[in-house]
């Protein structure tokens, strides 16, 4: 009896891994700049114990391009780089593995959570089926599959939050677990910038809702809190430093001056009356702008129709969830509250906690920054699916519902797979910094003939691609790089070994130099050696000499 469910569970996990791993080195079509940076820093740590900037085993942050990357994803990449070398697979495997773990943990979490649902309707059998549905639904998720197939830090953070919440629910029954159950939340601070605000809020919501149980286990909770406190210490100076807030300034809505202008002109229109000072206040303007961005993340077209506007996170053909899941989501929310309202309230608070920090950003909706909320959506969808098909298992009658829903999933999943593997790489290779790999590998093959190689940095961060694809020795990288940090804190690289990086075309062309520039910057006198094409056939770079 039990065995049946365990086998089913293992099969779904294998399936989830297979979907996330199949052709992961070529779809998405190229490594993004963040991925090469994580990969090369992992390689650098592995070989020398230092990052690209020469910092010895940084615990708080990797400076990288001046974007101060969290450290855990880099260290998680180290073993894969050790095993498989410096290539696409080892950079993406941590995310693939954590994505698969997420399916496993999500299923376990929902099994655990369902023990709080009404006992009459949720025996072991029902809970197991519920957990299997959960695993199945998440394994098929377009949102989760896409973020699990590239080296996104957010995906690792989401899995850690799932682990944390699962441990929290376990500690309600076994209070000794409180000692470790909060650690995953601390780890998210080391994993993903947006999670730094969401995780404490999620943890806080849980403690708030289950305060009685927390107080009852206060001895272990305090021990856990001590451990957390100690493990936060290494990153604390960085979190409080100006660098950590540097990038935040550029992306947040409160630096938008148009709100102040509107507010001022309205007050002027009202002759600065008392009423106007209340209602035309800029704080109301900002609150409105914040809510606008907050609700952006719940836009139906984003969730169900087109997905994130950035093709790195979405195909543009399928929403973050499948469109028919909108009905299941709605039904699931309704049903979940009838099953057990406190559990449902926790998931709603989890959702709000994940969206609260994301609303501060100008760029909304953002599938990556709100990935913390992904399990909430699938919790309600799973409840919806379960409630919709449960009569099938309970009464052993009317299989039609189950079969029709399964057919729907198969159809939509095939539609997603077809677009993802057949059309997506070709259509959006330009969005994935495609081109540097081919260009650099070509340049390496003819390198000996030239004294310099001039490479366009229009696509973004070419120096990292050079180091990555030439597997440059980290100490050589550090010794031959000529670089500086600009006022905004960004890391600019002028040259690296034979490579010189340039933004625009070159004024004075020299012989003995290999040029790799954008097609529009190629002079008439050029002797073109090779055109680098995107997967849709458009020229992206041209290799030439004089």
């Amino acid at each position: 009896m039990k065995l049946k469910y365990i086998v089913g569970f293992i099969l779904i996990c294998i399936f989830a891994f297979a979907i996330r791993f199949y052709r992961v080195s070529s779809v998405p079509p190229a490594l993004s700049w963040d991925e090469v940076s994580i990969g090369y820093n992992a390689w650098s740590i592995l070989k020398t114990g230092r990052d690209e900037h020469g910092k010895y085993f940084p615990l708080d942050t990797f400076v990288s391009y001046g974007d101060y990357k969290p450290t855990l994803p880099v260290y998680l990449t180290v073993p894969f780089v050790f095993m498989f070398g410096l290539n696409e697979i080892s950079v993406r495997l941590p995310s693939v593995v954590f994505g698969t773990l997420a399916v496993l943990l999500f299923s376990l979490l929902l099994f655990e959570v369902s023990s709080y649902f009404s006992k009459d309707n949720f025996g072991f059998k029902e809970r197991s089926i519920f957990a299997l549905i959960a695993a199945g639904v998440l394994s098929l998720s377009p949102w989760h599959i896409q973020l699990s197939r590239a080296g996104w830090e957010a995906n690792i953070a989401t899995t850690l939050i799932l682990l944390g919440v699962y441990l929290l629910f376990l500690s309600l029954k076994n209070s000794k677990l409180w000692i470790v159950s909060m650690i995953p939340f601390v780890l998210t601070l080391y994993t993903f910038n947006s999670a730094r605000y969401a995780s404490p809020l999620i943890l806080g919501s849980f403690i708030f809702l289950f305060l009685k149980q927390v107080i009852a286990a206060k001895k272990y909770v305090l021990m856990g809190a001590m451990i957390c406190f100690i493990s936060v210490l290494p990153i604390l100076p960085h979190l409080l430093s100006p660098e950590a807030r540097l990038r935040f300034k550029e992306v947040n809505i409160f630096t938008d001056t148009s709100v102040v202008e509107t507010s001022n002109s309205r007050m002027e229109h009202d002759g600065n009356s008392m009423v106007s000072k209340i209602f035309d206040n800029r704080r109301i303007g900002y609150a409105r702008s914040y809510l606008m961005h907050f609700f952006d993340n719940l836009e139906p077209w984003f969730l169900f129709v087109k997905g994130d506007g950035n093709p790195k996170f979405s195909l543009q053909d399928v929403g973050q969830l499948y469109i028919f899941e909108s009905i299941l989501l709605l039904y699931g929310i309704y049903k979940a509250f009838t099953f057990r309202s406190r559990i449902s309230v926790f998931f709603v608070l989890w959702l709000i906690a994940s969206l609260l920090p994301a609303g501060v950003a100008r760029e909304t909706p953002h599938a990556l920054r709100i990935e913390n909320s992904l399990p909430v959506f699938y919790f309600f969808v799973s409840v919806g699916v379960f409630a919709f098909v449960s009569p099938v298992f309970l009464k052993r009658s009317g299989m039609i519902k189950g079969i029709s829903l399964a057919t729907l999933y198969v159809l939509f999943f095939s539609y997603f797979l077809h677009n993802y593997f057949v059309h997506y790489p070709k259509e959006f290779s330009g969005e994935w910094q495609y081109g540097y790999k081919d260009a650099i590998l070509f340049a390496e093959s003819v390198k000996s003939k030239y004294s310099h190689i001039v490479l366009s940095d229009e696509i973004g961060r070419p120096y990292m691609y050079v180091s990555f694809y030439t597997k440059m020795d980290p100490s050589e990288h550090r010794n031959t790089i000529i670089s500086s940090f600009d006022e905004a804190g960004f890391y600019n690289v002028k040259s690296l070994g034979k490579y010189i990086f340039t933004r625009s075309g070159i004024e004075k062309l020299e012989s003995n130099t290999l040029y790799i520039l954008r097609p529009q910057d190629v002079p008439a006198s050029a002797h073109v050696l090779k055109d680098i094409l995107l997967l849709n056939g458009k020229k992206v770079l041209t290799v030439f000499e004089i």
Partner: protein, 556 residues
């Protein structure tokens, strides 16, 4: 008896609030009639004076107007108002105000009737644990929320056809529920639903759907009624029969085509065409099915439907500037939590309220979902008053919930809430009455009245007035503000439209066409009115209320 008196006083206050918020400063806020309002007004005027519309059609059942073939009800309803009070903006808007106030009363009656029906049919305890509170307060709270609704106020203060439709929906359903006991009400219901089809395009899809819902819900009663239910069908058919030739006429369909989301084939299908070529190339049969344009259409329509459940649209931004006040959405933000609570509890308890309002709520955006520019506040106006009833349920449920707390806490909570509620409403009223005119005057096509006045003041100095058609249907604004005698206008041929005939509209000294400033005759005897883009400088600049220039007037 005193209890009844109290109820009447409370309802009276709600109606007074509704009237006040809809009538106050009616002619000047919104700042100018937009093109649809002028067209409705002038066509009413024209039919009143001549029996014919601007094209010379005798008592038309579809108002051709700007080739958008408006449903006729508003024009005919406006005729008596125009006859008694003259052609003026506040008069043209008045039928909508009346409909809006009636909708508030209708909501009260409808909710009360539904609850009465519930008491007969359902077990008291199962239906509402707090039945007494609900029974007494729900109709009032629902009507009160509709009276204050930014969405409803917006469209009750302008001459838009959709608002009549909403009122007719409410009364149609109300009469239908009462009609389960009385034949008179059943035929009234058929009349209301029939008239709704004359009111607005969305209604033509929505009313039949609502009819199906009602038929299913009240199937038991209808079966009991037997043959006498035929009365409903006969009356309904009699009322709608004149419309049949319109429905089958091709020109009515042009409006649907013009606003259809599927009309822009090239833009919509560009990506799918590229993909299907690749599939053909690779011999991918499955792909040819998946990348089929029909799938794109399905996605577009489903996405259009879902777009109306956008919280950002409903609570924060709204859509077109003409559809909301600055800084406001369509509903109050404070309503959001109560909407969710109300939806949940409505869904949870078996009642006629649930069986009727939930399907109504989910069917409302269907007609709009095949159109462009979504989400769209007018095409989905048929949502009303479901939102308000759900919020009312949520409010009463929450009130019931906090009743278990200590008195102090209860007062603190409800006090805080009332304060937030009041602030939110005042914010809306401030934005609507103080800032909307100046900020959105361009959207309201402000400036025509001033332009017309200028030509009137200088009528004798010029032989000809040329107005640019870049200004969007200027002939209608001039007819409207000049109150140009329809007899004379029709004698001169009426409106010309379609093909390139827009360039040929003229009456009296007025001519409406494109202005090519460099090649115009500038002898000082012709006055030109155009956009700042067409005419760079002139003798007079007419400005929007935010002081950006709207029209330039020039004679040389």
């Amino acid at each position: 008896m005193t209890h009844k008196l109290k109820n009447i006083i409370v309802l009276g206050c709600i109606v007074l609030i509704a009237v006040f918020l809809r009538v106050w400063d009616l002619g000047n806020t919104p700042p100018s009639p937009d093109w649809d309002e002028t067209a409705l007004g002038y066509n009413a005027y024209s039919i009143l004076k001549t029996g014919r519309d601007e094209y010379g059609n005798f008592l038309p059942l579809t108002i051709r107007s700007f080739d958008d073939y408006k449903p006729p009800l508003y024009v005919y309803v406006a005729i008596p108002f125009v006859a008694f009070l003259g052609l003026d903006t506040w008069v043209v808007r008045l039928p909508s105000v009346v409909a809006g106030v009636l909708a508030v009363i209708g909501t009260f009656l409808l909710v009360q009737e539904l609850l009465r029906y519930d008491i007969l049919r359902f077990d008291r305890k199962k239906t509402f644990k707090v039945l007494r509170v609900f029974w007494e307060k729900l109709p009032f709270v629902s009507a009160f929320l509709l009276a204050l609704s930014p969405w409803h106020i917006q469209f009750s203060r302008i001459a838009f056809e959709a608002n009549l439709g909403v009122t007719l929906n409410i009364f149609g359903v109300y009469f239908f529920v009462r009609g389960m006991k009385s034949k008179l009400f059943l035929s009234l219901s058929a009349v209301a639903f029939g008239l709704a089809l004359y009111a607005y395009h969305s209604e033509r899809l929505f009313v039949p759907l609502l009819g199906v819902i009602l038929f299913i819900i009240f199937f038991r009663d209808i079966k009991k009624m037997g043959v006498s239910f035929l009365l409903f069908i006969v009356v309904g058919f009699a009322v709608t029969a004149p419309l049949i030739p319109i429905f089958t006429d091709k020109t009515t369909l042009t409006r649907l085509q013009g606003t259809s989301a599927l009309a822009d084939q090239t833009g919509l299908l560009a990506r799918s065409v590229g993909k299907i070529e690749d599939d053909l190339h690779a011999g991918n049969t499955l792909g040819q099915i998946f990348d089929n344009r029909r799938i794109v259409w399905l996605q577009t329509v489903a996405g259009g439907y879902l777009s109306h459940f956008s919280l950002r649209w409903l609570f924060i931004t709204g859509d077109n500037q003409r559809h909301h006040a600055p800084g406001m959405g369509l509903l109050y933000l404070f309503e959001l939590p109560f909407l969710l609570i109300g939806l949940y509890w409505t869904a949870r308890r078996p009642s006629i309220l649930r069986s009727l309002l939930l399907p109504w709520f989910f069917v409302a955006p269907i007609a709009a979902s095949v159109t462009t520019e979504l989400p769209h506040a007018i095409r989905t106006l048929v949502f009303l008053p479901t939102f308000q009833v759900f919020v009312a349920v949520g409010l009463l449920e929450s009130y019931e919930y906090i009743y278990r707390f200590s008195k102090v806490l209860r007062y603190m909570l409800s006090g805080t809430f009332v304060l937030l509620f009041a602030l939110n409403i005042l914010f809306f009223l401030h934005m609507y009455f103080v800032h909307m005119n100046s900020e959105y005057s361009a959207s309201w096509q402000y400036g025509y009245k001033e332009a017309v006045q200028y030509t009137k003041d200088n009528y004798d100095r010029y032989d000809k007035f040329v107005v640019s058609i870049k200004l969007e249907q200027p002939h209608m604004f001039f007819l409207y503000f000049l109150k140009y005698p329809p007899e004379e206008y029709l004698k001169a041929g009426g409106t010309k439209s379609g093909g390139f005939k827009e360039n040929q509209n003229s009456f009296g000294k007025y001519e409406f066409r494109e202005i090519h400033w460099d090649s115009e005759i500038k002898d000082g005897k012709t006055l030109y009115i155009g956009t700042p883009k067409e005419i760079s400088s002139g003798i007079e600049i007419i400005r929007y209320l935010d002081s950006k220039s709207a029209f330039v007037v020039a004679d040389r």
